[in-house]
Symmetry: C2
């Protein structure tokens, strides 16, 4: 039996996630203490520390360990990734954007703090992410930290999640969105940040080109699977389970993978992608088990 | 006669500014070509390339040269500074913030492209600034580039311009704002980015601690003078001259330096600050002339 299919039997993912979520939340809380002017720090903390799977930081820590590095080496970057992700959620939720009132089961940032503070919270988190990862990373060559900074910038800018969000907004209300456009949206809006989350850990640990390439493939495949599952959950999940408004895609007549492929084929595609992602890491043996289990977790999740 | 008072006679600032503005605009235009999705690139270019004094990039190039470096070493950072500054203008102009229709004599970003694209343009410029300066800087040790990245993040985050904007928004409509609060607003909202603009050039060139400290003082003094002059111009200038709505501060009953000190004393304070800023650089002789002339330019400007 290949590792790709036998992972879950020998690895307690739930304990692994719980432990790392706690480390990450402690690190995030320490990274942003409340000081004057309090309101902006409170607003950033509200969205950053609410809840959340901490998937991106967990992927970063796991890939650093797979590449022979330590959790400590990758933790500042892991926190920076969550700050950037949180920025994108705060800004996406704004009235001028997706206009969402709920996120992760709680009122969105602008519903509590107002639009101006919500915009500034996002800006603050984005800028601080770069400062934090540069100032706090220890035991990593400066060149590797610079590589992570450049890739993180690339993943957020118009070449990454900003570009994906633009095309997503432009596609709203259209019923003739092509699979190519849908693919662009997701590889940019969610895929780019997932990819740097996985790859950054390995870069910090000084990984070779073969591992970087395998992790890039792995990240692209789980990124797409993640989005397909998200689309499926928007149809099959409840608002309570997900902590955000469901059925929004259908209501907005948004083109999604299930609307193009149907639910059954969408599930099959997501599973195939995860299978391939796990296989890609088989050459790294037992060290790849956490990342392989995380891939399974992505298709299995209900929220 | 000390340099501090005799600068302008031997230095053609106008030609110096014109030449550098052109270099910077060419570099900025090359940094952001239009590609898919075109709308976001066009929106970023609209605000970035419109017009503007390019004061921050010019300060960065000048301090790099003063410290023995070259224009080429500092140009990517100079461009990054203008991207970050432009981000802050786009977001400040949003309806949820200062709600401005005009900037630099043209319609603001959201008046042309809509609020969603304006928010995303700012996010894109901020993230790209970090990528650009890391990827394009040549001939500078990695540690110096990291120092610039960290300081730039610090200057933008809640510890810098975001924090200043928050207190500015909180102070709006209040007539009992203290000088201390006004000072906090300006040292953060405009001062922090001016400071890193000046200091980053010297860091890239490998400057010693004495020069970094002198430039930090210089930057803080011209930053404050800059803001005092801005407040004065809001009262004495016309909308046509400034390319933005004037009299806004008075209309909003905003506390400003002239409202606390009067126009005459405000002018005197600005001149004193510039005099001190120039004196601080006297030990560097002729090499300091461009930065000293720039200090004069700041109090002399009418727009």
């Amino acid at each position: 039996m290949s590792q790709a299919t036998g992972v879950s039997a020998k690895f307690d993912l739930s304990a692994y996630l719980k432990e790392r979520q706690q480390w990450i939340e402690e690190a995030l809380s320490a990274a942003i203490p409340v000081r004057y002017p309090e309101r902006i720090y409170e607003a950033m903390r509200y969205s950053l520390l609410g809840s959340g799977k901490r998937l991106r930081p967990i992927l970063c820590l796991a890939s650093c360990e797979l590449a022979g590095g330590t959790v400590e080496m990758a933790m500042p970057t892991a926190c920076a990734l969550e700050m950037v992700h949180t920025m994108s959620l705060i800004h996406d939720d704004l009235p001028a954007m997706d206009n969402d009132d709920y996120r992760r089961g709680r009122l969105t940032n602008h519903k509590i703090y107002g639009e101006a503070i919500a915009i500034l919270s996002g800006d603050g988190l984005l800028a601080y992410a770069f400062e934090w990862l540069v100032r706090q990373t220890r035991g990593v060559p400066a060149e590797a930290v610079l590589e992570v900074v450049a890739r993180l910038g690339h993943a957020v800018a118009a070449t990454g999640l900003v570009g994906g969000q633009v095309v997503d907004l432009e596609s709203e209300g259209k019923t003739d969105v092509s699979l190519e456009t849908l693919h662009f949206i997701h590889t940019h809006k969610t895929g780019a940040l997932l990819e740097i989350s996985v790859v950054s850990g390995a870069i910090l640990a000084g990984a070779g080109q073969d591992l970087i390439e395998a992790l890039t493939d792995y990240a692209q495949k789980i990124g797409l699977a993640f989005q397909i599952v998200d689309d499926i959950l928007d149809i099959t999940g409840t608002t309570e389970e997900l902590g955000k408004t469901t059925g929004k895609d259908q209501k907005a007549r948004k083109v999604t993978y299930p609307s193009l492929w149907g639910l059954e084929e969408s599930r099959r595609q997501a599973e195939q992608l995860v299978y391939e992602a796990k296989n890609r890491l088989d050459p790294w043996g037992d060290k790849a088990i956490p990342l392989q289990a995380l891939a399974d977790f992505i298709v299995a999740r209900t929220h």
